[in-house]
Symmetry: C2
Subunit: 469 residues, 2 copies
């Protein structure tokens, strides 16, 4: 047997199956037979993602809501809550739940034996494209940010981040213990789930309304980045508390140190080597030199951030910040836009598709206890972040309300708390469902709120839009 043969290609030609199968039963197994069907699944999924993102985005743009909200809602429609077109194994779905799989079975001759592998594989690819999407998004946000401005507003961003972690955590935990009689450990878990802002959604909305490079926008981005790190630290603290009853100081110190060393180190070293990168790019003669060099830099930092147990998106953001200071910024920004256009919707539609809005249904009795707790958590989640802006004394001109509102959306990290809490046995089903509802609602209400609070000052100041709508 050669090692060069493209079994996928062969397998796609069903008239070849008898001849090949007869001779190579051991080699052409179910996995190989499904190669071109995985491609078919990916192509179909992408068409559905683009359709959902544009349908939702266009409707939202017309009723003056942020398009990204439409992408999320479009994702919900094609996802596990409604039409079951895009469903994922990690959401507990099987191939039988997927309409894409049914379609492949009917049109592309997908066999029942190959179905689980095809489903797992194309879902893996789409999930990965979605992760690349949020990495590209943060790279783009970094490119559109201004490192000097971020450093200038750093102290304010730090205050916003810390208050935005402490306030909802304290209010949420205390309220659950004293009002809802939740035991202390699950209350701490739920309180901790209220801490971390979803940087992706906020940044996307800011870009859409042209407020990314405003002072408020930069404070929000800076605070959201710090928040992401603080969220990981809080998770480490709470997790060790549940496990051992005490806080493992070494982990916490390691996380804070590694985050600090990474962010400061990558920017310091990055600024030193970025002239070399630019010099190299200027010497290159082949197509795509700016984009591929920039992305290689971003992917390298994302890899490092991922490996030291931070988020890959923090590495991509740092890479964007560093390259934004070079004279390739404009060219790179222009070339990143189409790449972001094809990958970022995969992220937002997948977030929506993975969200099971069934927990919001009050007609199911078992949801009701959770919904009561959820209502409380939502109020705390919103108030706990909205107040953060007003802790910035002596900054008369900035839109303090907008800063707080920008911190409202919770995302993945909140869901991780729910999952870890549930897995460790600390959270009741009702509390876990309540956290999920809180994440859904804050994620979906923040974009229109944010647009609303930025509206008047935007019109007054006539800030130029940095990103087209």
């Amino acid at each position: 047997m050669t090692d060069l043969v493209y079994w996928n290609w062969i397998a796609s030609k069903s008239w070849l199956t008898p001849i090949v199968a007869a001779a190579t039963e051991s080699e052409v197994d179910v996995e190989a037979e499904s190669g071109s069907l995985i491609l078919a699944g990916v192509l179909l999924s992408l068409v559905i993602v683009y359709f959902a993102s544009k349908l939702g985005g266009e409707i939202c743009a017309r009723i003056d809501l942020p398009p990204v909200l439409g992408e999320l809602v479009g994702g919900v429609l094609v996802g596990v809550s409604a039409f079951n077109l895009l469903v994922f194994p990690e959401s507990g779905c099987t191939a039988d739940d997927s309409l894409i799989i049914s379609f492949l079975q009917q049109t592309a001759g997908l066999t029942p034996e190959a179905t689980p592998h095809v489903f797992a594989s194309y879902s893996e690819v789409i999930s990965l494209l979605s992760e690349l999407g949020v990495i590209i998004l943060l790279f783009e946000i970094g490119l559109e940010s201004d490192l000097k401005e971020l450093i200038r507003v750093g102290p304010q961003a730090a205050i916003v981040a810390v208050v935005g972690v402490v306030a909802p955590f304290a209010m949420g935990t205390a309220g659950l213990v004293y009002v809802f009689d939740v035991p202390v450990i699950p209350a701490i878990f739920a309180g901790a789930a209220l801490t971390a802002t979803s940087i992706g959604i906020t940044a996307k909305v800011l870009a859409e309304i042209g407020q990314l490079s405003s002072e408020e926008g930069q404070i929000i981005i800076g605070a959201a980045v710090l928040d992401d790190i603080l969220g990981i630290v809080v998770l480490a603290v709470v997790a060790s508390l549940v496990k051992t009853g005490e806080i493992q100081i070494t982990n916490v110190v390691y996380l804070i140190l590694s985050a600090g060393v990474f962010l400061i180190g990558s920017i310091v070293i990055g600024r030193l080597i970025s002239p070399l990168i630019v010099g190299l790019v200027n010497e290159m003669k082949t197509r795509g030199q700016v984009l591929l060099t920039g992305l290689s830099f971003a992917f390298t930092l994302a890899y490092i951030a991922n490996v030291i147990q931070l988020e890959a998106i923090l590495g991509a953001f740092a890479a964007g910040l560093i390259l934004a200071e070079t004279d390739k910024r404009k060219e790179l920004e222009e070339q990143v836009i189409p790449v972001a256009d094809i990958l970022v919707p995969v992220f937002f539609v997948c977030v929506g598709a993975k969200t099971d809005v069934g927990v919001l249904n009050p007609t199911i009795p078992s949801n009701r206890e959770g919904l009561a707790i959820a209502a409380f958590l939502i109020v705390v989640a919103i108030i706990g972040k909205v107040i953060t802006g007003f802790t910035l004394f002596g900054n008369g001109e900035i839109n303090k309300l907008a800063i707080g509102v920008g911190m409202i959306p919770r995302g993945e990290v909140g869901l991780v708390f729910a999952g870890v809490g549930s897995a460790s046995g600390a959270l009741s089903e009702a509390t876990e469902a309540a956290i999920i509802v809180m994440v859904i609602v804050t994620t979906f209400v923040a974009p229109p709120f944010l647009r609303l609070v930025f509206k008047e000052p935007e019109e007054a100041k006539e800030t130029p839009a940095t990103t087209e709508n």
Copy 2:
């Protein structure tokens, strides 16, 4: 258990493993633990792909060879033949062969238990990105082609395609039987492997030297597309011949009909609905409307082509041709370029990485018989295509040599013949190795040859370059 939890995220935080594992042994299995490591593997692989493509491409650009040749050679260097950075399960490699896996084990805490799944998953994602790369390449080639010109040169392209299939097939089969005493069936197989041109490599070189929209370029593209279809038909004929000793007419008729109906049907229907698509795009207000609509159209046609047992790339090419006739052509072309820049190198580097040049080593005695046959096949492969241009009588002005040279590179389809032949037991090891060597050599010599034969007329005519180098 919630279905919303992102286990990948959790699994990436190793300090969470004890607490989570204790409670959810059944749920957080090896597959889930490896989520963020798959992302890490993809990020590393992409950095390596971009590095290899730019290193090879830049060196070739400096010594006046086509950059795509450099991408292929760069792929060979990082692939199974040399540094083992990018290796693939379908080439018979295991995780132990991969340097990326070793690196992940050392830097990212990849465990031996999770290794096979991580290796299989990120390799699957990279293979899929490479397939998307060649789909995007053919979409871009379609956009840069001119349907009217293609139809005008259609008869010439058909002659080139048919002669380019019949001549090498007849010469190769006869030579093997009468000179090398190869039995008839394997000789037919090897002869059939000489038929199909690799459209991707030829098209990329034509674009690089600015000859895609020349008359010669359009004849080559048209002939290569027809060739691809003829190659599939020939494979069906030979495969049924080997299996049953006779030709299954129904399959052959089905394939020819479905290819004809698909190409003509998609273009006719596509031209009818393309004004609707343009109208829809003009109504859209959100970012990326042109690109996402265009890609959705291309992916849909690629899906259909894939499902009816043609090649996905034919669908993408047809979509490009159709949209090239609309007034969105220029905008779409500009936006597809960065997308092609990040995905197309994945294809070429992977082709190189999957090529085992070990079969070319004459110091290994078992290679020698194969190399003798290979030398014959290479000569036939080159002569059999070069003559095609000279069958175009009465076209005094076109570069007939260039047309023939443009048809030289064989690609995936040739390898498929080798694989199917070997799997069916029809081909000896030596003949199989000879086919592989023929594919490697024709693929690698065609780009510089093509550049050479186009050089003088290009300078004389000063054809404007449609794609930057």
